[in-house]
């Protein structure tokens, strides 16, 4: 009977069950359709790419993946250890300042540093004015892959910093304290205990860094680095060759899955690594020299990734505000806010439906389907855009419906990409809530919907708001999906900032970039505040 479909169906809430199956399939079908593209005929673009560019794409992707991973580890791990273990001036403020670079999208940081170090940029002007050094003596071409590595790392390292900090501060406390009682120095403990034990946390942070990297289009395009994402754009927009774009997307899809697979293996290990005491470590006070070194080590990534770029953005905005087209700015701002809130609302509603489908249903296979449907967070935006186009053209052939270039399609694509941003916080809140309140209200005679409406939703409100906020900010920062799928002439803050930068008018992009950063900083403040309250 436990396995009988009839009884499981009878005991489940049909509304949530049916809706969650429909939504899961709706989220997965466009992604799944990309596998069918293998049978598509390809244009001349494919042979051109296959003969030479494919190696370049792969080579650049590998160089960036290794380089950015290494650089992010340098920026994140040691500061996380210092902040978790030692008390030094500014350590409290640095703890949350280290997270701030997350508010700057990769394309904005690339525009800024590209502008500063380009020929005639502020770096050379200052060198000439202060030290009297001529541009030609010290000029170097910033638009090289090796320079892009530290630039991107300076805004991506917080993913590793956050997971490492949690691991050092909480999860591995008992092991660190045991080693300390055995007379080991903190440095030995760092090398021999903390680092090996934090491996799953580091890998999980590295996974997020690399996913962001694979997703990036704006920075690569601005620096002229050829990767799979720029290749997809080029073959589609430049060569109008959807078949090749789909094939490139399929290769990128496979690389993403490889990363997901590696991350899953390490996450499974994490269960064994991260057991034990979850209280916080006692911090050691360090002397003057030690404090100075610690401050410098922690301030380097914060300065490169936030303080310097934000100062430059503010400076640029102050010097260009008179030339800003405020009508264009207002329209872009309104478009962005409307799009972000509309898409985030749909994402939150669908997340709740998926969660309740899983929570109230009795089918185990449904949980797997729902979990799979939130996988879009690990799929680069360009893949989602290409698969959407392929899926829509299939719909047009079969049913005469197209919809390409409409807001509905863009919102649909955002749902695929950002479902996990809302699903995860709400799911974690419902897991924490447990089933008792829900089951009690059912036993007290309330139907499924009533139990959720009257008992669970009021308690879940903070998690739903957090989910909404995170989704809004992610959509606001998003570039590749928006660029490809937006309606004609529909401009958002990110698309205008990108276009200005592409036309070598980086300073004019500042007010748009600053607005994106200002809004993106909100969930970080929210996150820091909630951590402090805890």
């Amino acid at each position: 009977m436990g396995n009988s479909f009839h009884i499981k169906w009878k005991s489940s809430s049909k509304l949530w069950l049916i809706l969650s199956i429909i939504f899961s399939l709706v989220l997965l079908i466009p992604l799944g359709s990309i596998f069918l593209s293998i049978f598509e005929t390809v244009g001349d673009g494919w042979s051109e790419i296959f003969d030479g560019l494919l190696q370049t794409y792969l080579g650049n992707t590998l160089i960036l993946a290794f380089g950015v991973s290494f650089c992010c580890l340098m920026f994140a791990v040691l500061p996380a250890w210092l902040i978790a273990n030692y008390r030094f001036p500014f350590s409290g403020s640095l703890k949350w300042m280290m997270v701030l670079p997350l508010s700057i999208p990769t394309y904005i940081i690339a525009f800024l540093y590209g502008d500063i170090f380009s020929f005639g940029g502020e770096f050379y002007l200052l060198a000439e004015q202060i030290f009297g050094i001529g541009i030609k003596t010290i000029y170097f071409d910033i638009f090289k892959i090796y320079y892009l590595i530290p630039i991107l790392s300076s805004v991506l390292y917080p993913y590793i910093y956050l997971t490492c900090l949690d691991s050092f501060e909480n999860s591995n406390r008992s092991h660190i304290e045991s080693a300390e009682l055995m007379g080991k120095s903190r440095f030995t403990i760092f090398r021999k205990i903390a680092l090996p034990l934090s491996r799953p946390a580091i890998v999980s942070g590295l996974f997020l860094v690399n996913m962001e990297l694979l997703n990036d289009y704006g920075a690569m395009d601005f620096f002229g680095i050829q990767t799979f994402t720029t290749g997809i754009f080029r073959t589609w927009f430049g060569l109008n060759d959807l078949g090749t774009a789909l094939r490139l997307a399929l290769i990128l899809f496979s690389i993403s899955f490889l990363f997901i697979y590696i991350e899953r293996i390490f996450r499974r290990q994490a269960k064994y690594y991260e057991e034990g005491n979850h209280a916080k470590l006692t911090k050691t006070r360090i002397g003057f020299l030690g404090s100075l070194i610690a401050i410098i080590i922690c301030f380097i990534p914060v300065t490169i990734g936030f303080l310097f770029p934000i100062s430059k953005l503010i400076y640029n905005a102050l010097t260009t505000y008179h030339s800003v087209d405020y009508f264009e700015y207002t329209v872009a701002m309104m478009n962005t806010i409307f799009l972000a809130f509309a898409a985030a609302s749909v994402i939150v509603i669908i997340s709740i439906t998926l969660i309740y489908g899983e929570r109230t249903g009795k089918f185990e296979s449904l949980s797997r389907l729902i979990s799979l449907s939130t996988i879009g967070y690990a799929i680069p935006g360009a893949i989602i855009a290409v698969s959407m186009l392929y899926f829509l053209s299939g719909l047009k052939t079969s049913f005469g419906i197209f919809g390409f270039g409409t807001l509905i399609v863009l919102i649909y694509a955002y749902n695929i990409r950002f479902m996990a941003t809302a699903y995860s916080p709400i799911k974690s809140a419902t897991d924490k809530l447990g089933m008792n309140s829900y089951e009690t209200s059912r036993l007290l005679g309330l139907g499924n919907l009533q139990a959720i409406w009257k008992v669970e939703l009021p308690v879940l409100q903070p998690a739903i708001l957090t989910a909404m906020l995170v989704a809004v900010v992610e959509i606001l920062k998003e570039l590749p999906l928006t660029l490809i799928l937006r309606p004609f002439n529909y401009e958002t803050l990110s698309t205008i900032a990108y276009q200005y930068a592409k036309n070598e008018m980086v300073k004019d992009a500042s007010i748009y970039s600053l607005s994106i950063v200002a809004i993106s900083i909100l969930p970080i403040i929210f996150f820091v505040k909630s951590k402090k309250e805890k």
Partner: protein
């Protein structure tokens, strides 16, 4: 026809079979305790009765109405069961009054208030009417949770380890209150606990579960005094189970015992002027007295004594020997 009938219930979670064909019945107005160690399947059994889980096979009926079977499944909200969870599960965003009247929200306001106040007065909690769950102590939360369940007028009350998160004093007070309420309401009740003492205080019948099987059933006092098997002996009392072997052979022959396994409760051994000589092996303080470890003709047994025994040997009389 019994009030509740549970027939051949099998329940697995993945590969693990938690209940292995459980059957029992229960009369209206009776109070049944399902007891057993952690993992014995007692909570699963209660959740199956409430409709919170689906069994792999088996049927559950109340007053002849089929609640769960191969063909039928009545949803939890249609079963009219009262369920008290071990962690109270009061709704955190509702005050005490709103929690209590949650299931009777369609009744007139005055009636709702009367119902809430009658229960609150009974338990001396009338001043907590407007308090929120986070403002209550553990014992108060559990009392309100019980009141909320009773206010819904269930046909069967299910208590899932209602005392497990409480300190000793609060637990004893709550037991007294609960007994008073159950006596007044005359409500059929199934309580699960891992503490035999709870069943002595509240239940008139006990089912002992072990690894998904019913291993003993009966009146709690009888099971305490005369355990019917190893499980009940170990669970209900500190009775010693003796298996005949070379070292205690003399004891078995002295008492003319033909059985190979016997059970002797500590309370069945008394100090007597004329009796069998016993060597004192040790004492264990148990609060209201001592559990004295004795060696009687090679058999190691326990005896309860109010005072500590200073002599190295004493004479004892065994009042009852139970064969298993």
């Amino acid at each position: 026809m019994s009030f509740l009938e549970v027939k051949n219930i099998v329940k697995s979670f993945g590969e693990t079979e938690v209940l292995k064909g459980i059957s029992f019945d229960m009369d209206a107005h009776s109070r049944l305790a399902l007891i057993g160690k952690s993992g014995s399947g007692k909570t699963t059994m209660l959740r199956l009765i409430a409709g919170l889980e689906i069994p792999n096979s088996g049927t559950i009926t109340i007053n002849g109405e089929e609640l769960t079977s191969d063909k039928n499944f009545i949803k939890p909200e249609k079963r009219n069961m009262g369920y008290v969870f071990q962690n109270h599960s009061l709704f955190p965003h509702l005050d005490v009054y709103s929690n209590i009247v949650f299931s009777i929200s369609k009744q007139p306001k005055k009636m709702k208030m009367d119902i809430a106040m009658s229960y609150l007065n009974m338990l001396g909690l009338e001043d907590k009417l407007k308090s929120y769950p986070h403002q209550l102590s553990g014992g108060e939360k559990q009392r309100i949770s019980i009141i909320r369940t009773l206010a819904s007028k269930p046909r069967l009350l299910l208590l899932d380890e209602p005392f497990s998160n409480l300190d000793k004093n609060t637990k004893e007070k709550l037991k007294i209150d609960l007994k008073e309420i159950l006596d007044k309401e005359k409500l059929p009740t199934i309580m699960i606990t891992h503490d035999a003492d709870d069943s002595f205080d509240l239940a008139d019948e006990v089912i002992l579960l072990d690894e998904g099987n019913i291993v003993a059933r009966g009146n709690p006092e009888d099971l305490y005094k005369r355990p019917i098997n190893d499980h009940s002996a170990r669970f209900f009392s500190e009775s010693d189970i003796l298996e005949k072997n070379e070292s205690n052979e003399k004891f078995f022959s002295n008492y003319g015992l033909t059985e190979k396994r016997i059970c002797i409760a500590p309370q069945s051994i008394k100090i007597a002027e004329e009796g069998t000589q016993a060597k004192i092996l040790g004492h264990k303080f148990v609060g209201n007295g001592y559990m004295v470890k004795l060696d009687i003709m090679g058999a190691e047994l326990k005896m309860f004594s109010i005072e500590r025994i200073t002599n190295p040997t004493i004479n004892v009389k065994i009042l009852e020997i139970i064969s298993i």
